[in-house]
């Protein structure tokens, strides 16, 4: 457990600033569909000088809050594929647990390694991002025995096209593997995992992008719980830090969902791709000890 901001004198200003920045991270995260976790850890580590373990733990709890918020509406609306979500949760829960256990044991004293690990993940996010906007579903993917057996094929109502889109699920084993790895990343770095869940479901399992995004948000709750519990027992969940981060991120994420129709997808993507390298660069400098 490392140093955090000194208390007392600047308490109110610090808390309000963190509340505001967490809300921005949550709003921006939900606008681009990747959750706020990607930005909360750099904000805490670089701006607030928070130990990386505490930052990851607080971010995981924030991710949990935003997941509950978005899933509570998308499950009801029927956009979330509950079956695919619960199928993949078997992998993400194990992954989330594993990632958090690695962070609090092997990497307990290796904060710099965790900070540096953030950099390639953020850059992969930037690379995967442009691929997230194809709406296509392959009509005749390779048959998949598990998908048939577990009845994972589905359909959803596409409002824009005013019709039911059916999708035939494939690549279940690849999906499990990739979302499991995504779970490890979530537990290690406090990100939601939507970053990898969505491409895994869309590109490998033939799930429509909108369904993949909401199903990922749904799964992330369970993934984050597996990790958060580990950090809680490891003494890495700092309560004064958690409260503003969770409240800010959850409210911000909800506002982001409401504001989404007002923004053009291209604009959001451009801002996102501009902000990501900045976040990665700051974490790199911090990890190398140049900054702070």
């Amino acid at each position: 457990v490392g140093p955090i901001l000194p208390g007392a004198e600047g308490a109110l200003a610090d808390v309000l600033l963190l509340l505001f920045l967490s809300a921005m991270a949550g709003a921006f995260g939900s606008l681009v569909g990747l959750g706020g976790g990607l930005f909360i850890v750099p904000i805490l580590v670089v701006l607030f000088d928070v130990d990386i373990h505490l930052a990851v733990a607080a971010s995981l709890v924030a991710v949990l809050g935003t997941s509950l918020g978005s899933a509570s509406t998308s499950v009801e609306e029927g956009l979330t594929d509950v079956r695919i979500g619960m199928f993949l949760e078997t992998a993400t829960a194990v992954g989330g647990l594993l990632g958090a256990v690695i962070a609090v044991t092997i990497l307990a004293q290796q904060g710099q390694v965790l900070i540096l690990a953030f950099v390639p993940v953020v850059l992969v996010a930037a690379l995967l991002m442009p691929r997230l906007h194809r709406e296509d579903v392959r009509p005749d993917p390779p048959p998949d025995a598990w998908a048939d057996r577990l009845k994972l094929h589905g359909s959803y109502y596409n409002v824009r096209q005013d019709r039911e889109i059916e999708y035939k699920v494939t690549g279940t084993k690849a999906g499990l593997l990739l979302t499991g790895i995504s779970g490890v990343g979530s537990g290690l770095l406090g990100i939601g995992g939507g970053l990898f869940n969505v491409p895994a479901m869309h590109a490998f399992m033939n799930v429509p992008i909108r369904v993949a995004a909401t199903t990922s948000s749904f799964m992330i709750g369970v993934t984050a719980v597996a990790g958060a519990v580990v950090y809680l027992f490891a003494g890495d969940l700092s309560l004064p830090l958690v409260a503003p981060v969770v409240l800010g991120a959850t409210v911000g994420s909800h506002l982001g969902v409401l504001a989404q129709p007002k923004f053009r997808a291209v604009t959001l993507r451009t801002i996102f791709l501009a902000v990501l390298p900045i976040a990665a660069g700051l974490m790199l400098l911090r990890g190398l000890g140049v900054l702070g």
Partner: protein
């Protein structure tokens, strides 16, 4: 085939217990709002007592038993309860889903959801023991 027929065919192909969506979404919302209420109270108490983000006296948990701490208005006690409610919510969702899948006679999904539950419960048990 019209759209209606397609929709009906889908429901037969990939059944989710009818009550599941409604129950799960209400459960998630209720958990979030309850946890949020405790977080707001905790945050306001922190601010009222001038506790900073990095105050070591409050950082890692409770200074005493939970209920007396709540009664005494200890901010960390409120945040802690919020945290527990937040963590318990997806676990409750998994429990409810397992029950509904089991009632619907969906053996594979009952097993899958119970596996997820096992992982989460094992995490807590290992944490308590360690």
């Amino acid at each position: 085939m019209n759209a209606e027929a397609g929709r009906v065919a889908r429901r037969e192909e990939s059944p989710v217990p009818p009550a599941l969506r409604g129950v799960v979404s209400r459960l998630l919302l209720a958990g979030l709002l309850l946890a949020g209420g405790f977080f707001v109270l905790g945050l306001l108490l922190y601010l009222a007592q001038g506790v900073g983000l990095g105050d070591p006296d409050h950082a890692m948990g409770l200074s005493g038993p939970l209920l007396p701490s709540l009664a005494a208005g200890a901010p960390s006690a409120f945040v802690y309860v919020g945290l527990v409610v937040l963590i318990a919510t997806p676990i409750a969702r998994v429990v409810v889903s397992a029950g509904l899948f089991s009632t619907a006679g969906d053996r594979p999904f009952t097993v899958l959801t119970l596996f997820v539950l096992l992982v989460l419960v094992a995490t807590i048990v290992v944490g308590v023991l360690a």
